[in-house]
C-alpha cells in the first residue's frame, strides 16, 4: 500500500490478542546473553582464510608501489590484495551504490589501501604491519584540515523576513556561538565480514544495518549482479549509523574470496573501526533568538558549519528540527560544509538533531535567563500553529504534553534560574531542561507473513535487528493481527533471500517494516475472512481461533497461507510535518574545585506515536539518554591538527559514559497515535532520546555553578574556564 492520507482507523486497535505494546523481553535476548547468537565474524566456516586491512600512514597522495613479495614470503601469507574495486571509504546510509573506490588514491590518514590474507589471523595481522608501500604524499601544509579555514559549500539556506532587524527590535535576544565535537558510533561489535564464493554465488555474513541497500552497494562495488549475492546479517552488535552502508571490510573480503576461491574473514581492529568508518562531524553553530517582551519568538537564526571529505554528499543536518520546532517569523537557517581531509563524516545516531538540538536548547536556556521567563514556559509559548515558513500543518505533536508531564514527574521548579542556589560540600547542585525533537523518517519496506498448518506464523524480511528489538516487535504486530500468542510467531530477519525491508536507520525500522508486516497481515485476514465467510471487520482472532471457536489452521486446507506486504510512504510526507517530540530534565552536581560534572538524575518524556513494545521502546529512550550524557560531558573525537589523524581511537580514550556516569533514568512515554506517520500510527524512537538531552545537562551545569559552557563536551577544564569567580 501507498500512504497518501492519514490512517485514522488502524486495525490494530480492534484486535483481540492483546500482545501489541506489551513489555515483552527480546525474543533473541537469551541467545545473545548466552553467546549462542552468532555475530558476523563468529560463523564457523571450513577452510577460511583471514584478511587484515592495511591502512595509509599519510593524509593525501598516491600509493606508487606495494612490495608484495616480502610479505608473501612470510609464514602463512596467501595473498596481498590491492584491487582497485576495494573501497576507500564506507558507503553513506541509503547510498545504494558503491562508495569511493580506488584506494590507491589516499584522501585521509588511515584510509584502507590493501588487504593481507593469510592462513591465520595472527599471521595476517603481523604481515599487514610489515607490508612495505611506497607513496607520494602531498605536503601537509597544502592539505585543508581545519574546517574554519577550509573552503566551504552551502548545503541548506532558508531565509524569511529580516532577522537582523528582529534582533535589533527585540526585547530580549541571544546571539551565541556553540561548538560540538565529533562523535564516533563506538558500537561494541567491530565491522566484520566472512565472504564465501561457490563459483556463481557470493555469500557474505557481515555486520550491516541496511541489507536492502547494502546488496546493491556491494554489487556495484564488485561489478556483479545482485542476483548473485546473498548478504546475511542476523545479529548486529550495535550500529548507530556506522553500519548503514557497506564498509571496506565487506568489499575487501568479497574480492579476496572470489580471487582466492576460499572463504575469507576480515575483522577490523578497534582502531581501524574508529579511524576509517564514520565520524559525526564537529560543528560550529551560531544561534540568534529574538523575542518580544512576552517571550514570544520574533526571530530565529541557526547557522552551522560542518565538515566532510571532498566528494561526500552527506552534511550533518544540524538544522533539521530547527526548521519546524519553534516560532519566529524572521528566520535564517544556513548550513555550510567545509571540505577537509579527515576520515569520512556520516550518520552517527540521530544525525543532525544530536548536535543541533543541544545547541538550540542551550540558546533557548540563555534566552529564558535573559528574558526572565521560565525555561519550560518559554518553550510552551513558542510552539507554532503551523510550519513557520511553509504553513504546513503538524501531524500529531506531543511537545507540550511532554514538557508538562516531564516537568511534573521531575519536580521542576518553575521560574528564572539563579545559579549556585544549592551547595552540598564541594558540589554545586542544579537542574536544567531541554526539548527533544527528531524528524520522522519512513521508508518503503516489504515483508512476507506466512500462516502454517501447525498453527504458527512466520515473518520474513531482510530487515535487520541492530539490538533494538525488531525481532520482538515484528512478532508482536503479526501476533496481534493474526490472533496468535507471540511465541507462535517466528521472525526471520537479516537475509537478502527474504523480501526487502527498510533497513535499520533514521529510527524508521519499526514504522516502515512494521507497516509492511501490518499490510501483509491485513491481506491474510482478508483471505481468512473469505474462507470463514465472515467480513474482515467481524474476524475476531485470538489464540489461533475465530470467535466461534473455529481454529485458524482449519482454514488453511493443510497448506501455507502467505502474503507479502509492501508499504510505500506515498505523498503524505508533503501534507504534514511529522516528528517525534519530547522533553528532558536533569539534575547535576558540579564540583566547585575541579569542574567535574556528574548527572544525579534525569527524566525524559517522549511522544513517538504508538508504542509497539513498552520495554524495548523504554530501552531505546534510555539508550538515547545515555548518549545525551556522553555528548554533554565526555565524548569527543580528537584529530591531530597537522595530519588529521584520529588520535583517540579506542574505547579507553574515546569516553562513552560508564555505568557510574549514568543514574537511574526515568522515562515517560506519552500516549500517542500519529495517523500521518505510518499505517500503524507509530513513529521512531531509536534516536529521539538524544536529540537535545545534552542541553538539559549543560543548562543544569549553568544553574548549578553559573558556568555557561558553550562547547560540547563539557569536560572539567571547560567548566572551570567558564566558572565565574566565587
Amino acid at each position: 500500500m501507498e500512504q497518501d492520507k492519514p490512517a485514522r482507523d488502524c486495525d490494530l486497535d480492534g484486535m483481540k490478542q492483546g500482545v501489541l505494546g506489551k513489555p515483552l523481553s527480546r525474543s533473541e535476548g537469551l541467545a545473545k546473553v548466552t553467546g549462542t547468537a552468532p555475530y558476523a565474524a563468529e560463523y564457523h566456516v571450513d577452510n577460511c582464510l583471514e584478511g587484515v586491512l592495511v591502512t595509509a600512514p599519510f593524509t593525501r597522495g598516491t600509493i606508487t608501489g606495494i612490495d608484495k613479495d616480502a610479505c608473501l614470503a612470510m609464514d602463512g601469507v596467501v595473498a596481498v590484495i590491492d584491487d582497485s574495486r576495494m573501497t576507500a571509504r564506507p558507503a553513506q546510509g541509503t547510498a545504494d551504490e558503491a562508495p569511493v573506490q580506488q584506494p590507491q588514491q589516499v584522501c585521509y590518514w588511515g584510509q584502507p589501501i590493501a588487504l593481507v590474507v593469510a592462513e591465520t589471523f595472527e599471521q595476517a595481522r603481523d604481515a599487514a604491519k610489515h607490508l612495505k608501500i611506497t607513496f607520494e604524499a602531498d605536503e601537509l601544509d597544502e592539505i585543508p584540515l581545519d574546517p574554519q579555514e577550509a573552503e566551504t559549500e552551502n548545503n541548506q539556506s532558508t531565509r524569511q523576513g529580516d532577522l537582523a532587524q528582529a534582533m535589533n527590535d527585540a526585547s530580549h535576544s541571544v546571539d551565541g556561538r556553540i561548538t560540538t565535537a565529533g562523535h564516533a558510533s563506538a558500537a561494541m561489535e567491530p565491522h566484520a565480514a566472512i565472504a564465501q564464493w561457490d563459483g556463481s554465488t557470493l555469500t557474505v555474513h557481515a555486520s550491516l544495518q541496511m541489507l536492502n541497500y547494502n546488496i546493491s552497494e556491494l554489487a556495484d562495488s564488485l561489478d556483479m549482479e545482485e542476483e548473485n549475492i546473498r548478504l546475511v546479517s542476523r545479529y548486529v552488535g550495535g550500529g548507530f549509523g556506522s553500519k548503514l552502508g557497506i564498509s571496506e571490510e565487506t568489499v575487501a573480503a568479497s574480492i579476496a574470496a572470489i580471487a582466492l576461491e576460499r572463504p575469507v574473514r576480515v575483522v577490523m581492529s578497534r582502531q581501524q573501526v574508529f579511524q576509517c568508518i564514520m565520524r559525526r562531524s564537529e560543528t560550529t553553530q551560531r544561534l540568534r533568538l529574538a523575542t518580544d517582551d512576552k517571550g514570544d519568538l520574533t526571530g530565529f537564526g541557526h547557522q552551522a558549519l560542518v565538515s566532510n571529505l571532498p566528494g561526500e554528499e552527506f552534511a550533518e543536518p544540524v538544522l533539521q528540527s530547527s526548521d519546524f520546532l519553534y516560532a519566529g517569523e524572521n528566520r535564517v537557517l544556513e548550513l555550510d560544509v567545509a571540505r577537509i581531509h579527515q576520515m569520512t563524516a556520516g550518520s552517527v545516531r540521530a544525525p543532525g538533531e544530536a548536535v543541533g538540538m543541544p545547541a538550540l536548547e542551550v540558546a533557548m536556556d540563555m534566552l529564558a535567563q535573559e528574558s526572565g521567563v521560565d525555561p519550560v514556559e518559554l518553550r510552551l509559548r513558542n510552539i507554532p500553529e503551523s510550519h513557520p515558513v511553509e504553513g504546513t500543518p503538524y501531524s500529531s505533536r506531543k511537545l507540550a504534553e511532554c514538557l508538562k508531564q516531564g516537568a511534573e514527574a521531575f519536580g521542576w521548579e518553575a521560574g528564572p534560574r539563579k545559579p549556585r542556589h544549592t551547595r552540598d560540600g564541594e558540589w554545586w547542585i542544579g537542574t536544567g531542561m531541554a526539548s527533544a525533537a527528531r524528524v520522522h523518517n519512513i521508508s518503503e519496506a516489504k515483508a512476507r507473513v506466512t500462516l502454517k498448518p501447525d498453527g504458527t506464523a512466520m515473518v520474513e524480511t531482510d530487515m535487520t535487528d541492530i539490538g533494538t528489538g525488531t525481532y520482538t516487535i515484528l512478532g508482536q504486530i503479526a501476533a496481534e493481527m493474526l490472533g496468535l500468542p507471540r511465541e507462535k510467531v517466528l521472525v526471520e530477519l537479516g537475509d537478502t533471500q527474504f523480501p526487502r525491508g527498510s533497513g535499520s536507520g533514521g529510527s524508521w525500522g519499526a514504522s516502515s517494516v512494521g507497516s509492511a508486516v501490518y499490510v501483509a497481515c491485513t491481506g491474510l485476514r482478508k483471505t481468512l475472512g473469505e474462507r470463514a465467510g465472515v467480513s474482515e471487520d467481524e474476524l475476531r482472532l485470538k489464540d489461533g481461533k475465530l470467535a466461534d471457536g473455529t481454529s485458524v489452521t482449519d482454514l488453511l486446507n493443510g497448506g501455507d497461507l502467505s502474503e507479502e506486504g509492501h508499504y510505500e510512504p506515498g505523498d503524505i510526507d508533503d501534507d504534514f510535518v511529522a516528528a517525534g517530540y519530547g522533553a528532558y530534565f536533569a539534575q547535576v552536581r558540579v564540583n566547585r574545585f575541579t569542574g567535574e560534572t556528574r548527572v544525579e538524575r534525569m527524566t525524559g518524556a517522549f511522544g513517538f506515536g504508538r508504542v509497539l513494545n513498552e520495554k524495548t521502546a523504554r530501552s531505546q529512550c534510555q539508550g538515547g539518554m545515555v548518549w545525551s550524557i556522553g555528548a554533554a560531558l565526555t565524548e569527543a573525537l580528537h584529530f591531530d591538527p597537522r595530519d588529521g589523524h584520529l588520535v583517540n581511537c579506542d574505547l579507553a580514550e574515546y569516553h562513552v559514559p560508564v555505568n557510574r556516569d549514568v543514574p537511574d533514568l526515568e522515562v515517560i512515554m506519552v500516549e500517542e497515535r500519529d495517523p500521518a506517520a505510518s499505517p500503524i500510527q507509530a513513529k521512531g524512537i531509536g534516536e529521539l532520546g538524544m536529540c537535545g538531552g545534552a542541553a538539559a545537562i549543560a543548562n543544569a551545569i549553568f544553574d548549578a555553578s553559573g558556568a555557561r559552557v558553550m562547547d560540547f563536551p563539557m569536560t572539567p577544564d571547560r567548566v572551570l574556564a567558564a566558572m565565574p569567580a566565587s
Partner: protein, 328 residues
C-alpha cells in the same frame, strides 16, 4: 603481534636469567603488554611468563609495615584488610584505576611497569621518541591533552598513567628488585620512575634481568589519607590530575603532609619541598596557594594540557582543605 618465544620459568633465578636477554620481556597480568604487542608497540622476541612464581603474597613486615608481592593482583591488594585500614590512600588509588576486570588481572609489579597512554606512543605510524628513539615527539605540537606539565623534556612529554604508584609515592614505599645471581636491590617508589630527559625510552630504573619482587610499605603513620582523581568520566579513565595525600594535624597546625601527584609528569610526582613548606603551618587558603605555587613553579603546558596547571592547583587546595577541615 609478532611471533615470539614463550617461556614459563619455575624459579626467580631462572626468570631473571631469561629476562636478561635482549628483546625479552616479563609477562605478569598482561593487561597492558598484550595490548601493546597486538599494536606492535612492544615486539619482544621472547616473553617470560612469571605468573608461576610465588610472588603474590601480602604479608606484615617485622617493623609493622606491609610487603605486597609483585604478583598480588590489584584487586587483592585493594581488598586486603591491612591495606584498607592502614594504607587507605593505596586502596582508594587502586580502586580509582582501570576497571574491576582489569584490576582482577593487573599486578603490583605490572602496574608499576605499565607504559604511557600517549596517543603517539601507541600508534606506530606516528613519531615517538619513547617507542622509537630519535623519531621525534608527536605530542608536543599535537594533541597533548593527557600529557605532562612537570619534568617534561623536548624529547617527551608523556605521563606515567597509573594511580597505584602515586599512592605508593605518597606512602614512601620501596620497590624490591631481584637481579641475576644475588644482585637484589631496593629502590624508593619515588625514584623508581624516571624523567624522560633525552632517553624517554626508559620509563624506570629497571635493568635487563631485573624483576620486581614486591613493594614494601613502611609502618603506618597517623593522619587523613586521601586519593583525589580528577577525570572526565567517573570510571575507566586516566587521571587528568590526581593527588595522593597523607595529612596529619597537631593542635591546629599541619604535622604531616606527604603528597604525590598523578597525571602531571613522566613519574608519580613527589616534591619534598611541599612537606617542608606545609608542616608547622596553620592550614589556610593562602598556605595552600603557596604550596601550589611551589609545586607548579616550573610547570609548562603544551596548549591542549595548559588546563592541568590551574586544575592541579585547585585539586591540591581541595585535597588539603578536605584533609585539614578548612572551609574554602
Amino acid at each position: 603481534m609478532r611471533p615470539f618465544q614463550y617461556a614459563r620459568p619455575e624459579s626467580l633465578e631462572q626468570a631473571s636469567q631469561l629476562t636478561g636477554n635482549a628483546d625479552t620481556m616479563a609477562l605478569a597480568g598482561g593487561t597492558n603488554l598484550i595490548d601493546l604487542m597486538k599494536l606492535q608497540v612492544e615486539t619482544p622476541q621472547e616473553l617470560i611468563d612469571i605468573n608461576r612464581l610465588t610472588m603474590g603474597e601480602i604479608a606484615d613486615t617485622d617493623d609493622g609495615g606491609l610487603r605486597i608481592g609483585a604478583l598480588a593482583t590489584n584487586t587483592a591488594t585493594a581488598a586486603h584488610d591491612r591495606v584498607r585500614q592502614d594504607y587507605e590512600v593505596l586502596a582508594r588509588a587502586i580502586l580509582a584505576g582501570a576497571t574491576q576486570q582489569l584490576r582482577n588481572k593487573a599486578t603490583t609489579g605490572g602496574n608499576l611497569c605499565q607504559r604511557t597512554r600517549c596517543y603517539y606512543f601507541t600508534n606506530i605510524d606516528q613519531p615517538c621518541n619513547k617507542r622509537d628513539p630519535g623519531s621525534g615527539c608527536g605530542a608536543i605540537e599535537g594533541i597533548a591533552r593527557l600529557h605532562g606539565v612537570l619534568g617534561t623534556s623536548p624529547h617527551c612529554i608523556a605521563t606515567y598513567p597509573g594511580d597505584m604508584a602515586v599512592a605508593m609515592a605518597a606512602l614512601d614505599a620501596t620497590v624490591e628488585i631481584a637481579g641475576t645471581g644475588d644482585r637484589a636491590r631496593s629502590v624508593p617508589v619515588r625514584d623508581f620512575h624516571r624523567l624522560p630527559g633525552d632517553t624517554p625510552e626508559k620509563d624506570n630504573v629497571l635493568e635487563p634481568g631485573e624483576i620486581i619482587t614486591g613493594v614494601i610499605l613502611p609502618a603506618p603513620v597517623s593522619g587523613r589519607q586521601i586519593y583525589r582523581k580528577v577525570r572526565e568520566r567517573s570510571s575507566y579513565a586516566f587521571a587528568l590530575v590526581s593527588v595522593a595525600a597523607i595529612v596529619d594535624m597537631d593542635e591546629g597546625r599541619i604535622a604531616r603532609a606527604d603528597l604525590a601527584f598523578g597525571g602531571l609528569a613522566h613519574k608519580p610526582w613527589h616534591d619534598p619541598r611541599l612537606s617542608e613548606l606545609l608542616v608547622g603551618e596553620e592550614p589556610s587558603a593562602a598556605v595552600f596557594d603557596r604550596a601550589a605555587d611551589l609545586l607548579l613553579e616550573d610547570a609548562q603546558g603544551y596548549g591542549e594540557n595548559d588546563f592541568k596547571i590551574p586544575l592541579a592547583r585547585r585539586a591540591l587546595a581541595a585535597t588539603l582543605a578536605d584533609a585539614t577541615g578548612v572551609e574554602l
